[in-house]
């Protein structure tokens, strides 16, 4: 039931007409003030230079927010009014694809503008041969890479990061370039903690130009709201086989990995989606409070907002739970909203773009002086032309090396063909996202030539960025990323 429903949502989102339909939906449902009538027409943007020198930037990551669960991206349940309002006033990229399907590699790409293979934070550990273990760290793995925060700091920005820790913790080097970078050690922390700290920092720095990174794990499977769930979206008749705890979620993830697939009842999947929706709606409300406080500081008119997520999450779409282990759309299709100050009538942009484009877009909009090193480093492209109505659609590449359990690489062509290659077993998958957005029918045998050519394109791409995938053997082993995943040998 849920699965079928979700397929419908994705189908709508993927069709070319969907963009228009979604735009209409936003126009009708935007709850907050200042849309079409009050705002400037989007046509004005086309003429603007789109340079926001010395403006502020707030980058928000709603960790693990699946695009298909965002109302303004087509989800029927109205659980994201704040995000939707910003999407309605700003630019809503309806086909934004993350470079990876879990936090550590995916998030670092916003800050470096390069693929995970290049920034090299592809696993929690740079060395994992117990008892010898060594955490991955950006400065050690990729000493020559400049971060977004470093570039902005060089340009006189105050830089502050306020996060829920875990995948974006400072030990990995996420704090590189930030004046202040806060994370709650050992936790999948909530915006309940990161928002007040961010507001405190903003109050102290509001007269400077600033770059704020705000992050919370509120939506993530390993986070449970303070005070527990109120089960607002759960069917009354549910038999409570599950309660929504993080232990249950973790057990489901591990069972899926160990057995190869889960067997869940429809009502359980529906339950988990309801739990997910409760987390999303609570987070959206929390974010609304942040925006109100932000506005009180008088910063709204000189701040660019970028809302996104590092990756989605799976609720049984491909018989698994959680994320990291695949590159299906439920894990890599993410929301991406850019809200420009002074622009209040935005539009939906259906062009396929990558999370790789976030850093060049921010730097382009802020019109900062780019150090040569950073210029040469960036793999993506500014999305500013898209804001002016130009086409920015591109083929996008994603990758995941998940706990040494699997190594996958994918390409999605801008016209909707998706090819996934699993390195350890040479498994190949080809999907036509237009006809099969749920990625259920592998067309490798039916379209051998296309599969062959996309495979060469995928390998050619990674070779071109200095990662020849054929140059090594890909051996698997279920190594942990977090302590909660460590079992047996890894605990010794």
């Amino acid at each position: 039931m849920n699965r079928k429903h979700n397929t419908t949502v994705l189908t709508i989102m993927r069709s070319a007409l969907a963009a228009l339909a979604v735009a209409g939906l936003i126009a009708c449902t935007t709850g907050q003030g200042g849309h079409a009538s009050a705002g400037k027409p989007a046509a004005d943007v086309a003429k603007k230079e789109l340079k926001y020198r010395d403006y502020n930037v707030v980058l928000v990551s709603f960790d693990a927010l699946q695009a298909a669960h965002v109302h303004s991206l087509g989800y029927p349940r109205d659980i994201t009014p704040t995000i939707d309002a910003m999407a309605g006033q700003g630019f809503n990229f309806t086909n934004a694809i993350s470079v990876a399907s879990w936090t550590v590699p995916a998030s670092m790409t916003w800050f470096t503008g390069v693929y995970p293979s290049e920034h090299r934070l592809t696993n929690k550990f740079a060395v994992y041969e117990p008892p010898l273990t060594k955490l991955s760290n950006l400065k050690e793995l990729s000493p020559n890479i400049m971060t977004l925060a470093e570039v902005l700091k060089q340009n006189g920005y105050a830089t502050g990061g306020f996060t829920g820790n875990a995948g974006v913790n400072g030990f990995f080097g996420y704090g590189q370039g930030f004046d202040v970078y806060s994370f709650e050690k050992g936790k999948f922390g909530s915006m309940d903690q990161s928002v007040p700290k961010a507001l405190e920092w903003l109050a102290a720095n509001k007269d400077k130009k600033f770059f704020l990174f705000l992050h919370g794990y509120d939506i993530h499977g390993q986070n449970v709201p303070a005070g527990g769930f109120d089960y607002r979206f759960v069917d009354k008749g549910y038999d409570k086989r599950y309660s929504g705890s993080r232990e249950e979620q973790e057990a489901l993830r591990e069972e899926g990995l160990e057995k190869g697939e889960l067997k869940l009842r429809d009502e359980d999947v529906k339950f988990w989606r309801a739990i997910y929706d409760e987390k999303i709606s609570r987070t959206d409300a929390r974010f609304k409070e942040f925006l109100q406080e932000f506005d009180k500081l008088g910063l709204t008119g000189k701040t660019i907002f970028v809302l996104t997520s590092d990756h989605g999450t799976e609720f049984y779409e491909h018989r698994h739970f959680d994320h990291g282990f695949s590159l299906y759309d439920e894990l890599i299709h993410v929301p991406l909203v850019i809200k420009l100050p002074g622009v209040t009538a935005g539009k939906a942009i259906a062009d396929q773009v990558s999370s790789l484009d976030v850093m060049p877009t921010i730097l382009d909009l802020l019109d900062v002086r780019m150090p040569e090193a950073a210029k040469n480093q960036l793999r993506g492209a500014s999305l500013a032309p898209a804001l002016k109505g130009e086409t920015v659609a591109k083929d996008v590449y994603s990758e995941t090396d998940y706990r040494l359990y699997t190594y996958k690489r994918s390409v999605i062509t801008k016209d909707g063909w998706k090819f996934i290659y699993t390195l350890e077993n040479k498994q190949r998958e080809l999907y036509n996202l237009k006809n099969d957005p749920a990625e259920t029918a592998n067309l490798v045998e039916k379209e051998p030539r296309l599969a062959y050519e996309l495979e060469q394109k995928l390998f050619g791409h990674f070779k071109s960025i200095g990662h020849d995938l054929t140059a090594r053997q890909w051996v698997t082993g279920l190594n942990p990323v977090y302590d909660s995943q460590a079992k047996g040998a890894s605990k010794k």
């Binding site: 016209d415 036509n432 030539r449 995938l469 090594r472």
Partner: protein
Amino acid sequence: MRTRAGRHRLNALTAFLLMCCTAGMPAQAAQPASAPSPALHEYANVILVSLQCLRPDHLGTYGYQRDVSRNIDALARRSVVFENAIAQASLTPVAQMSILTSQYARIHGMVSFEVAKDQVTPRSLPEILKFYGYTNTAVISSPEFFVRFNSATGTTINTGDVYSRSFDEVVNTRRGLGPRNIRKIPDESLEWIRANKDGKFFLWIASGLLHMPYGAAVPEQHRARFDPPGYTPFWKRLPQLPREVASNPDPAYNVLSRVYRNEFFWEFAPVYRLQPEDIAYVNARYDAGVFYTDRFIGELVKLLDELGLTEKTLVVLHSSHGDDLGERDGFFHYDVTEGVVRDALIVQFPGREFGGRRVPQQVQSIDIMPTVLDYLGIPSPHEAQGGSLMPLVRGERTSAPSEYAYIDRIPWWEYTLSKWYLEFQGGRGAHFAVSERPALKEYQAMLRRNFDPLGYPPGDIAIRTNEWKLIVRKDLEMLNRVSWWSFITGKRHDVAEIELYDLKNDPTEQVNVAAKHPEVVAKLKEKVLAWDRSVEKRKARYEKNDTRFIIPYP
């Protein structure tokens, strides 16, 4: 010529890019304003002519003086001739698989005669061409490519082996099991072309006619045409040889495998020193095979001209590997000598484009497939280890993709002996002196002990440039212990761990100059060992339950 080549390449590229951008869209949406001319893979045929044991230096176009190859020479004049093409291995199934997959032996996994269908998984040229709508046919007249024998069950497997994969049709031209007729000219291919001239095809013509016993498959009227006048084979003149050896009508394995450095060994002693006319006789019989093969090539080229196919057919004629004809150690393809690793490589492009060009740069046989695909406008598979030679053919670059060629002596000749010759022929003992038979039994047992049935023999590797060849024996101890030369001479063989040959001044590799050029040794050794490590890391692996096959020779 250049302009035309440029256009072809551009069109192919454009077509590929268009395909990538527009796949899945309705056809009319993908139509640009003016229709481009079609990519070559949309109409061009490919014919791959693989000749086992063909030595380029026995062809006129490569400088041979005897008149044996008028037709191949004529073809060469309208083709691109690669003057220094190098095989990746010394045995046909292994070396040929490198050509069809563009991979080194240990990567493609066809490392002996014993590899089963599903064990060689890399994409092959016919498999890729099939994606592009080619009809694939193989006409094979060599036992090294088809009939397989499962040693465990005693059954013969006719099709479905590694080499018939991805072919719509395999024309088996093997006639029977008699010693003189297992190999023949694959002239069924001519009928096939006539019948299929209107389709788009990939035709693989593989011939083992040049393989020893030399000249055996050549019809009577041509077989002796180059023989020294009045010559009697030396093995017919040695009274101590049993009938089974002395009666060999051709220069056969039973005889020539006992020649080491021009001495014929019997009962572990040199009993006859080969004279120049003995060597000349073996070469004459080999040349009779070249002559007879050349007639077939002439018919093939003529037919393509007659049918108008020359305009749209890419013809690649190449050696699977060469052969030793008594220059140094002995005969056949025992080691990675120049005789064995140097290949003929002649490519006639559609419309005879680039005809007459000669490429002196060293190229490897793994470059053939990327070249064919590049020319047709098809992307090479990422597993390909060779590179396209088209930039070299077009004169767009002068450096070859393979300044260094890498060769795996895999499997060791002795490994192969332990499986087929000694088990099925020598095992019967008839080709050995009575006094040799106890030692033969021990030798067989020793080989079985030394070769892991699921593993690889230790590395016997070589690196080659147009100036130097360096050979590294990674397990010298084992090599000398199992050596066939140790067995027939009755004296422990003593090959050097490192051999360096100055190919310019010593093309038949008579003098190991490793001690004289330590700096060359150091540089080449470092390179070949780095290559060896990279290959070893990713080599194909075999499991305990994998079925192994062998090819029995009659």
